[in-house]
Amino acid sequence: MSKSSPRRPFGGKSNGTITVIEAKVHRSSARNARLAFILTAVIVGLLAAVVAASYMHPILALFLGALIGVPLGGLVWVLVRIWPVLRLLWWWTPEIGVTTFLGTGWVQLANHTPMPVTFAVVALVVGVPAAVPVTRRVLVAWTWCFVVRHRLRVCFAQFIIANQSGSLPLILWARPTPVGERVWVYLRPGLSLADLEGRLDRIAVACHASTALIERASDGNAAYLRFDIKRREVLTAQVGSPLVDVIDPATPATDRPTPAVPTALDLPDVDIPTVTLPAQKKPPATANGSKPAASSSTPEDDISDWI
């Protein structure tokens, strides 16, 4: 075991096909597993030995401790090593669950009912939600929620590399909104809101969306964020004002004196000399006097807006 530390820097097998990040992840997983094995074996073993020492000879107790500690350490080692697979399974749990449920349902149905009944039931179960617009929209919206969670994970894994061990942010729940989806995310060390804001356009592309916005979801915790994925423009319809309903439509119109109706409403009606601009031109002396200050700020209009 003591050999492990000098071996670590060169521990990864020289395999030309894997990328740097994956090699890092791989190596850290192997090291974590080893550490977990040692820690579990030593702690559990010692504890067991201490407890056992009050019943038997200390040397026998040490052996018993080793017997209990080593297999447990092995179990933990296996768990840590297969963690990437477990994580993958965890990510796809909803999909696996739904597929299993549907598959089982289909098989049970096919085994227990005659063919026409089977098809009738399937047509009902699939057709009714698909035909009713409300349920269809709800289903599609929730499907997008699942898709977006996976797409966000792809973003984090592919181009938002957070830290050395390659741990990904925790992508929490998602829920549909009228404009798209809203996903809550818990960042791991190595990322911040400002990092992500520079990549909003790429996140939008990865999520097949139009725009993405990120806000803090908690005032007290900078790691807890809310992603707003927008794929629809909903604010196109005209909005009425409720004030229209509170007034009495039978109100008599106010008596207004008819204002003098201006004439000369077209260009030929107005003679050249009679045109008087409301703006009085600045006296040339003032313009000259203020010239140096004005000329310095005029060229870079956009920057000096902020002075």
């Binding site: 909903v234 196109t236 004002s241 004030l243 106010t254 008596d255 209009d301 902020w306």
Partner: protein, 290 residues
């Protein structure tokens, strides 16, 4: 529609709105209503021509006109945007900077007197229980007064008076709502622009213009009014309570609806002015109040 003069007695009961109530301005992307409380805040609206700024101002004017505790001061360089509210307004100023300066000076005096009144009562801000009216100052096309019409001195005086109202009017119940297409430094000084608490950015052509309205840095965080479609008039980013820009659609009043509300408001409004109900504070002596 029949035509009659507003009666001096037997006024119909109003809808009971107050300027201290939240004002409905539209809906957000989640279909929720969006309210702003204007009594203690100022609002600046910006965006390209035809974006819907005057729509927002009319929406606020409608609420103010129907509120019992409100007075309207309208400055409209275009005459037509707020012109329909003339009968409900205490002052309606067209494209005339001399009149605009006069009314702003009056407002400044009222503000000073109100602060003296508040001090005399050991208080720090006006509340709904005081029975004083909220004087909403609506300025459409602020650029017209601050950069187009009048002499240099008049324009500077206009900006100075407006800045004073925006800076100090809040607690005295004199909120300012201003609209302009691009509030860059040559139109209104940055020192005035940055005092507005609420910002509404209608469609802008560049992210920089959007930043000028909303505040520096929002475009980089993804909140830019350039992503509003040109055909989607009345959609805007609003910074109000919460501090994060929200995409909203402003409620729209057609000319007919505005005329209806304005007539009704003129009908329910007590005959102006109200010497018996509210002391005429414009002539209140500062020394006597303190």
């Amino acid at each position: 529609m029949t035509t009659a003069t507003a009666p001096t007695a037997g006024v119909p009961v109003g809808p009971g709105l107050s300027m201290f109530d939240p004002i409905f301005v539209g809906i957000d992307e989640f279909g929720h209503p969006v309210y702003i409380t204007l009594a203690y805040r100022n609002l600046l609206a910006g965006g390209e021509p035809g974006g819907g700024k005057s729509g927002l101002l009319n929406c606020i004017a409608a609420h103010a006109a129907l509120s019992v505790d409100s007075r309207l001061v309208l400055l409209d360089g275009k005459l037509v945007e707020l012109g329909q509210w003339e009968d409900c307004a205490d002052a309606f100023i067209g494209p005339d900077i001399t009149e605009a300066l006069a009314v702003l000076k009056r407002l400044q005096l009222v503000m000073n007197n109100r602060y003296a009144w508040l001090r005399a009562h050991g208080r720090r801000k006006l509340t709904a229980a005081d029975g004083l009216s909220v004087i909403t100052v609506l300025v459409d096309e602020i650029a017209f007064y601050s950069a187009t019409v009048g002499t240099k001195q008049e324009q500077e005086e206009f900006v100075a008076l407006l800045r004073d109202l925006v800076a100090r009017g809040r607690a005295a119940g004199i909120p300012v709502v201003a609209a302009t297409q691009r509030p860059s430094f040559d139109i209104i000084p940055t020192s005035l622009r940055d005092l507005f608490g609420y910002r509404a950015a209608f469609r802008c052509t560049t992210p920089n213009s959007s930043n000028i309205v909303l505040g520096h840095g929002w475009a980089e965080q993804g909140y830019t009014a350039t992503d509003i479609a040109p055909s989607n008039q009345g959609a805007a980013y609003l910074i109000a309570e919460g501090g994060i820009p929200r995409r909203i659609k402003v409620a729209y009043l057609t000319d007919g609806q505005i005329a209806g509300i304005a007539d009704y408001a003129a009908w329910i409004r007590r005959p102006r002015p109200l010497p018996a109900l509210v002391p005429d504070l414009t002539r209140l002596d500062l020394g006597a109040a303190a």
